[in-house]
Amino acid sequence: MSATDLTRLSAADLAGKIHSREISAVEVAQAHLDRIAAVDDTVHAFLHVAGEAALASAAMVDERLAAGTAPASPLAGVPLALKDVFTTVDMPTTAGSKILEGWRPPYDATVTARLRAAGITILGKTNMDEFAMGSSTEYSAYGPTRNPWDTNRVPGGSGGGSAAALAAFEAPLAIGTDTGGSIRQPAAFTGTVGVKPTYGGVSRYGLIACASSLDQGGPCARTVLDAALLHEVIGGWDDRDSTSIDKPVPSVVDAARIGAAGDLSGLRVGVVRELGGEGYQPGVRSSYEDALRQLEKLGAELVEVSCPHFEYGLAAYYLILPSEVSSNLARFDAMRYGLRVDVGASAEEVMAATREAGFGPEAKRRIILGTYALSSGYYDAYYGQAQKVRTLISRDFAAAFEQVDVLVSPTTPTTAFPIGDKVDDPLAMYLNDLATIPTNLAGTAALSVPSGLADGLPVGLQVMAPALGEAVMYRVGAAYEAARNAEDGGPVISRVPEVSA
């Protein structure tokens, strides 16, 4: 197969060919490294490409297979792009920030370790909004990533690099993190699949913290099955993360395979009244309505449900998140690691000068906002009240899931917007997360799967499930994906234009 063909295959297909020794893991790695070399000057999905290490890792997989050893995992030898927020001992880890420029972590994240143990070829680290705060990857200290569908547009954020790498065929798999939508929204903007597991489903050990009660690492891919395969590699209890759930990973691969058979009869799908109406781009709404019809054709019963406190989700989130961020980012103090700007005689002055130079505007805004919300006199009215709204949102989900098996909505209110459009208007930027935020606040699971195009740009369908309910969510996602592909004569991603310089 030509190198180009290799980059168009799914992870599942690549794994099959590598494990049957039809092609080598090294060939596959090289094909993707060549693709990165060809297009990443334009796309800028990667902050670091680990060519030698990737080829060495792939070679080891080939050696083991040649010796007759069983593959380390169903994805052994398949390449992957890792969001630069997970620590890697052999690659810099910057979290998209100048304050960690060139930082080499002294330990691997659990996610990193599991990927390596699975024999997955880590191609490099992907671009992101600084410390995972943003919805466009424009707040990266290293320059924006461009959407392969239209290089004048954003790929979404904070995980725009991972999503763009998939959509540009630079990697068949990627890892992201989702705190308010940072996996799902880029997936919607790029015509790819992105999953936010149940909070606690994927270890946060070695995940540079943004908001500790909201952050969750998750799989990104071009197909639901690929995402499921990756989910089973990275998910599961970790004794080094005290918030990780000590229960088996849901059988998402089985669920995706069953779902692909296309029968959703008996399944109740909740259409959330508060998400998907006014304020959503007409093309997004019509793609969504089309998706709902598709789900009905598959046998699902649509039920309208109301989650009345979802409309307070954005407000609660933009109080809780900055509060947690202001605390988490206090560790960047120029003393033990990262940037030091030696201005001033005292530690405090050096800290202040360093943080001023090392953080971008969005990080500073959120630190200041969080400091305000947590300060005495304001704590109850802002942070305390936001935590109560959080309880009410969780209750809305619980009540909804008594009536239905999954909830659906458009993933985002709009399709990908032009670079520069919202970067100076924080509130406009925050509105991107309207539909994704409630899930993070409740700690439940959700995914985005492509639902079509609006004016040539991808639209995503969001499927939400209860905590630890990933199986039903993958089943619905896979069923819908198969039906969508059948109706369109191919997956949405196949219509992505060739990356133009």
Binding site: R104, T243, R336, E349, V350, A352, F359, P361, G377, Q387
Partner: protein, 109 residues
Amino acid sequence: MSAEPAPSGPTGGITRDEVAHLARLARLAVTDAELDVFAGQLEVILGAVARVGEVTAEDIPPTSHAVPLQNVFRPDERRPGLDQEQALAGAPAAEDGRFRVPQILGEEA
């Protein structure tokens, strides 16, 4: 030491002085230009997030972790942490196996 700026109520107003004070608390040496921009932006954001106050929630318990776990312990067994070299590997300055830092609690105006 400058006087504490008058606090604004929880209705969304935030003054430039307050932003400067918060920046000092958060150890951020923001510039005058940034203060002007941030004060305006934060005022808008606070106006939007103040919406949480519209919800009647007196008897509602707050949630800090949506999927709460309690008493997550591990056996009290020693296991290796970072060695000294690893711990100092990223240090801006190190000396004699320690982090070398500027004096703490220097004189502030």
